[in-house]
Amino acid sequence: MTSQVPDLWPPSAQEVVFLLLGVVALGSALLVVTTRQLVHAALWLVVCFGALAGGYLVLTAEFVAWVQVLIYVGAIVVLLLFGIMLTRAPIGRSAGLDSGNRVTAATVAVGTAAVLVTVVVQGFATAYTPLEPGGGAAATLGASIFRSWVLPFEALSVLLLAALIGAIVLSRTDIRPANPAADAGGPAAPTTPPHPPDPAPPPADGSGATAGETGSGRVSRDGG
């Protein structure tokens, strides 16, 4: 993968754009963790992801770039925003977003970054790969996914299915008894007539919110 390294100066337009995108990604990432407004954090995340997508684009991986936009910017951040709204988390400035462990956290983060940057620099300082158009195109990726990686790909679909079922298990509140009234053997069945599906079930997030209010072990021990 390593070929002759061309002169780095003067930088090409691509390199300049890539660097700028990198600065944007880094800066917005910092803002995500330093802003005191939860919604702002989510929005800064959009910028960060967008910058990353731009980076992919510059590296000719246009398919990955669009996937990044679609999935991360389009789906995940929106999901985050929904989560913020539905869990009645405070919108606006809130002091509670700052942890008391800032110093430790910063040390750990800087340390980790230092190690990883060192690794990448040491590992790839002399590596150079010329960009070829189409290297990250949908056709190449598709061929690779549906040929060499077909089994992990299928397994991933199974994973998503399992996650889906899990989400249903955790959120569904309209669970009826296993034995219907018709089953005379059922001990508790006759007393409860079969319910029609609730037209307006309690919001799926209700459990989370009330758990927070009742001060359940999970929330108290993990959050405070």
Binding site: V108, G111, V115, R221, D222
Partner: protein
């Protein structure tokens, strides 16, 4: 004559002799796993497997008889037990087959008897499961061709014994007795385990054949140590001094258990162990062998003395069992001259003692489970069959001429005389005491005036209980003469354990024999005057110092308490101490920090997921760092 070589065998019934063990084992597994569903037929299944095992045993015996005497030691390899260490296999030879027939034969009879005895117990199925388990373990003990297999069986019978003594869990005394048996046996089992380790170190094998034929020549000290450790194991299992104390308490178990396990079979495992290892570790005149004879004589006297003072019919019989096993140990310590008598006495004792225990059970069955002989009396009229069969057992054990015990016990006394006259005369004395306490038991139970409790309505037991008694008493009459006269048993057993150069001849009128008879008669007469002709008080009178001594089991418990229990309690307390710390730690949170490393370490386990994540992170950092350091070395 040295024991014969062991030949690898395959084919025929002997080839499938593992069935002997497998049948009752399957029975036990089925009954235990089957649960309540098998309640209805559980007892029948239990009997069926025991009887089936007996039938296989007889077939194996017949095939074995078909071989030349020198080729009657047959090894049946089963599988590689511990790769490169030992193979698991069975050893079918005259010694083991004698035990097999005794265990399955008497075992089957006791299974049948239990159908009646346990008829009203809601847990009868479980009882039969345990009995089957016992039979399987005991058969493994005597059939294994190596010490580890023997040890498995040894622990197996211990487990079955524990479960059966404590079968009536609701009685605290039963639970305590079970515990006691368990703990005292641990001491013996520990000795056996260390003996096996030492054998392996010295011989690099644990199979009987391997030890016998190995070229290794360990020092005399090692051999003596192994012998003494084996003896310790034997003492635990066979209730010999100083580990005798559990047997009397073990009588808390249901009576068929006392008959099968604590009279006929399991308690004789020690004798088996000594006999089986005789040629290797108890050569004639060795320190270990002398120790065996001394333990035997001491126990035969101690057991007899305990027997004289007990009012509980089963405990009196238990004392007698100790005493009789003492005889067997004495004979086993003598060497080839004694082995045949030891095993012959073991077999006849299995019959007449089982007979008497079952008889006692029959009496208890009719007397509302009363065990105090002072509340019996005059039962011979209401329980004629029980009385008759018990009488046969009684006559056999005191050595009434021409009955089983006469031949086998006399053989032991004769060979002991030849070995050492002191030991011989002590054995004669023991026989005299036997005459006294057994007569006392019979007179108090079956003769004299009725001293029954008001609500007792004694009656003869059902046929399912009396028939086993009858069969056992027939054995008690004839078996001894059959085995001993003409040295039939000695020549049969010879290839397995070795036999003396000159076969002993049977003297009906030797001096020790006549003295024995006289002493026994005197003892019986004394008993008659004290307990047959005279009134027996319903409450035990305060006896002399000697009586108290005997009643308290010769202070065996007090001794054990000082030697084993106190240190044991100390250990328990230590454990409880740590235990409390642990529990307190959970409650107080802070106290945890005090309690040693563990308590301190567990504070890391805060329950906060962020701390866990940090610990993972730090761990990862350390790992990365370590890799880096090692990689760049």
């Amino acid at each position: 004559m040295e024991p014969a070589k062991i030949i690898e065998h395959s084919g025929g019934v002997i080839g499938v002799s593992w069935l002997l063990i497998a049948l009752p084992l399957l029975g036990a597994a089925f009954l235990l796993l089957g649960g309540r569903k098998t309640d209805k037929f559980g007892h029948l299944l239990g009997v069926a497997t025991a009887v089936a095992s007996f039938v296989v045993g007889v077939l194996v015996f017949l095939q074995l008889l078909g071989f030349d005497p020198a080729e009657r030691r047959r090894a049946v390899p089963l599988y590689d037990f511990i790769p490169g260490l030992t193979k698991m296999g069975l050893l079918v030879d005259p010694l083991s087959i004698s035990f097999v027939l005794l265990i399955t034969g008497v075992g089957s009879l006791i299974h049948i008897y239990s159908i009646g005895y346990m008829a009203h117990d809601p847990n009868r199925r479980r009882f039969f499961a345990y009995l089957n388990l016992f039979v399987a373990a005991m058969l493994l003990l005597v059939l294994a061709d190596n010490y580890i297999g023997l040890y498995v069986g040894w622990e197996g019978v211990g487990l079955a014994s524990y479960l059966l003594i404590g079968f009536w869990q609701h009685k605290p005394s039963a639970a305590t007795a079970a515990k006691k048996a368990f703990i005292v046996n641990r001491v013996g089992d520990f000795g056996l385990a260390i003996a096996i380790f030492t054998i392996f170190t010295a011989f690099n094998t644990v199979s009987f054949a391997g030890v016998m034929e190995s070229g290794a020549d360990p020092s005399q000290g090692t051999l003596t140590a192994i012998g003494l450790l084996l003896l310790l194991g034997a003492c635990g299992k066979s209730a010999q001094l100083p580990l005798q104390s559990w047997l009397l308490d073990a009588m808390e178990g249901p009576t068929p258990v006392s008959a099968l396990i604590h009279a006929a079979t399991m308690v004789t495992a020690g004798v088996y162990l000594v006999t089986r290892s005789g040629a290797m570790f108890f050569p004639e005149g060795s320190t270990a062998a002398i120790a065996v004879t001394i333990v035997g004589v001491a126990t035969l006297l101690a057991g007899a003395i305990i027997g004289t003072a007990k009012d509980d019919i089963k405990k009196a019989l238990a004392g007698s069992t100790m005493s009789q096993i003492g005889y067997m140990m004495l004979a086993a310590g003598i060497g080839p001259a004694g082995y045949a008598f030891a095993i012959a006495h073991l077999i006849t004792h299995g019959f007449f003692k089982a007979d008497m225990f079952l008889g006692a059970g029959s009496v208890m069955h009719g007397m509302n489970d009363e065990v105090d002989m002072r509340k019996y009396g005059g039962l011979r009229k209401v329980m004629p069959i029980t009385f008759a069969t018990f009488l046969v057992g009684y006559l056999a054990i005191i050595g009434f001429p021409l009955l089983s015990g006469y031949f086998t016990k006399d053989g032991i006394i004769e060979s002991a005389m030849e070995y050492s006259s002191t030991l011989g005369w002590l054995a004669v004395l023991g026989a005299g005491i036997t005459g006294f306490y057994m007569s006392r038991l019979v007179f108090m139970t079956f003769f004299g005036k009725k001293r029954w409790e008001a609500d007792a309505h004694p009656h003869e037991s059902p046929a399912v209980m009396t028939w086993p008694l009858i069969i056992l008493s027939v054995g008690s009459i004839f078996l001894g003469g059959f085995l001993i006269v003409g040295n039939r048993f000695m020549t049969f057993l010879g290839p397995a354990v070795g036999q003396p150069e000159h076969l002993p001849s049977f003297h009906p009128f030797s001096v020790p024999g006549l003295v024995t008879l006289a002493l026994v008669a005197a003892g019986a007469a004394l008993a008659w005057f004290k307990y047959g002709a005279a009134e027996v008080p319903v409450t035990a009178p305060r006896g002399s110092f000697l009586t108290t001594f005997a009643r308290r089991d010769l202070y065996g418990d007090a001794l054990n308490e000082a030697l084993f229990m106190r240190p044991g309690q100390w250990l328990t307390r230590l454990a409880v101490f740590f235990d409390n710390r642990g529990i307190d730690g959970l409650v107080n949170g802070i106290a945890a920090g005090i309690g040693g490393t563990s308590g301190r370490l567990r504070r890391v386990q805060t329950g906060f997921v962020r701390s866990y994540a940090l610990s993972i992170f730090i761990g990862a950092a350390i790992l990365v760092g370590a890799w880096f350091v090692v990689g760049n070395l």
